[in-house]
Subunit: 398 residues, 2 copies
């Protein structure tokens, strides 16, 4: 598998664009007669564009995706639906395609109507710049950012067992309100490989479960989350696990980029739970630890407070024997096993605690916990809880 | 119902004491042949004293409670059990009672053995000062504090329908790691009313469900939580709902004191969910809102960001119609109804948003949400998420 440098534009047949003015931006991805699948937030309160996109993507075919930042178009009733359809129509009219073939997504403030007078001219300016090169790839990735501090993209080239070469390229946004079941998180992934719609959807669900849904910044789940996977159907071949692997790689790379850009984050945190009886148990424990405010604060304070780790494991709801667990802190090649099959090693050897303290001073921290009770594993991605997280969210909006 | 001023010592027949040196403190409550019931953390990982107390309280009779702060005696294996029994024995020997009649509790750092050489002399000094007056009531309430900044106590006198006067008095500690199913939260409540053991336990469970279990500071659930209700059996009478009401009042007062003293808290937050189909639904929605990091940050920032409130309602998992809900912000007599049966009032009248902003500047904020779909109600207690919360938890231990 080869990493590609052109981001979303690594798929050469698509055209993309992005344009923003202040807090408002519009991104477009365009390729006629694409096959598409999508997954959405599980929040009971979901945004108007999700209604529209669900309808337009139902038949599995779209030709364009239009996305705005600055307003979530959520809790906006009939007018919100009208405005989401209006966004689709702006793209459809400009591209001379059917409005039903345009998917729509929004991110930003909840509970306010879309300022169409501001967004329409931005959308037109964006559409006018549709192209395929490094610059528009940047513009597209930038146009959908809100509290994000960095652009997020990933592209790879893979090869099927039958020798066929294919590409998968994606971009996303998200830094706050991130949680399992996705936060204010928008992801758009394209591939040139022809994949039957059902398979496309099944593979996307699987990949999202192991990537975007394993990211926790603050435990809040957004109303707007959408991940769309679209195929241009150019490359024909016998779809196999190599495509799945490439899709997983792109989704996990994007998910990690979101966690690393968590609001106010100073440290990136990976929590792996192994030795679980089932993958769901592993997922629940890993999420519980990565979500704990006390663990996140300890990471910020570079404090190897493993008591908070085992506490978070304990209230996850998963059944395990505390006297069988192992807990390690890892940074790069450096590993400190603090609890080994229920034995607290720091009692035996104080040097382990010193090493743990050294590990915690690193920017990227990995916590490995094992229930030593099965073969299932899961990894959750998160970040520390910092003054800046509070600052960002105390000052956002109004 | 009359509020009493002597805290835990409002029950005149009990003797209490508290003594602390630095981070370590020991509290004792003593009354021979008391009836007692207790509830404990639901965390899969629980502390050694919980094992010991469960055994000693099983027959419903205790004569004393001994509690230490500074070390949680959790994840400490056989030696932890030995040390918990040692604490019980120190009290039993001094008071010349059976060790099986002593309940034990601990709070503090997890995963370290109890420093018995430090705790034993503190326990003895505490026992030597057993008495019943305002001063020892203060010492007792102070001895169990950890990151708490204020002493927490409540005492009332009530009257049964048959005219019998009775008293309920309690004290507690807790400020961090507070969550539904209780955080590092210790509560000790005494009454002079004779209540059959089964009834005592049932009433305690009910009261805890509506008080301590509705407090959320950071969503973390501790390994040590214990609430013990003990009756001296002095006052005989026909136990009725007036006792239940007094017990609820004391538990809810203590619960609110914990939320107000949440680590780093600048605002006290009450979230009432009404109009729910069931009390469990109301509890789930109220907890979800009071737990949201984004809502908590908005409270800190005095930002009436109701989008985050409805988002937290939406991911609570409770089934409701977003277009039927009402959301109000309240401070004292001042109320701003932002969403009324699904209609966003701030669209209609900008003055409502201005009023909401004024309300958010108050120290105590109440959020009322109604699902307008039933008759059940629940109230959750919490606080804002502040820089100081992060600071306290980034710097605690090691």
């Amino acid at each position: 598998m080869k990493i590609l440098e052109d981001g979303i534009c690594s798929i050469k047949s698509i055209k993309v664009s992005g344009y923003r003015e202040g807090k408002y931006g519009v991104m477009v991805i365009y390729h006629e007669n694409s096959t598409a699948a999508a997954v959405y937030t599980k929040n009971k309160v979901y945004a108007a564009p999700i209604d529209v996109t669900r309808k337009h993507i139902a038949d599995g075919n779209i030709s364009a995706i239009i996305v705005n930042s600055g307003n979530a178009n959520c809790y906006t009733k009939e007018q919100g639906i009208e405005n989401a359809n209006k966004m689709a129509k702006i793209a459809a009219d400009y591209l001379d395609i059917k409005v039903e073939d345009v998917a729509v997504a929004s991110t930003g403030v909840i509970g306010r109507q879309m300022p169409m007078d501001i967004l329409e001219p931005i959308a037109i300016k964006s559409l006018e710049s549709l192209d395929n090169n490094r610059e528009v790839a940047n513009n597209a990735a930038d146009a959908i950012l809100t509290t994000d501090t960095v652009r997020k993209e990933c592209a790879v080239e893979g090869q099927l067992e039958d020798g066929t070469k294919f590409r998968v390229a994606g971009l996303c946004k998200g830094s706050g309100m991130i949680a399992p079941n996705m936060g204010t998180m928008l992801g758009f992934i394209t591939t040139d490989l022809e994949v039957p719609r059902d398979q496309l959807e099944a593979m996307l669900r699987e990949s999202v479960k192991r990537s975007f849904n394993m990211v926790v910044v603050d435990g809040d789940q957004s109303t707007n989350d959408t991940v769309i996977l679209m195929s241009t159907n150019e490359v024909k071949g016998e779809v196999d696990d190599n495509f799945k692997e490439a899709l997983d790689y792109v989704c996990q790379s994007l998910a990690k980029q979101i966690a690393k850009d968590g609001e106010g984050a100073k440290h990136f945190l990976e929590v792996e739970c192994s030795g679980a009886r089932s993958e769901d148990d592993a997922i629940t424990v890993a999420r519980s630890v990565v979500s704990s405010s006390l663990v996140k604060s300890a990471i910020f304070g570079a404090d190897p407070n493993w008591g908070r780790i085992i506490t978070a494991m304990g209230y996850s709801g998963v059944d395990f024997d505390p006297d069988e667990v192992s807990i390690s802190l890892i940074a790069g090649e450096n590993k400190a096993t603090i609890v080994d099959c229920g034995v607290v090693m720091t009692y035996e050897d104080p040097a382990i605690l010193e090493n743990a303290e050294a590990i915690m001073k690193n920017k990227d921290i990995r916590i490995n916990v094992s229930l030593n009770d099965g073969d299932s594993t899961a990894v959750a991605y998160g970040c520390d809880l910092t003054y800046d997280y509070v600052k960002i969210n105390a000052e956002y909006t109004t």
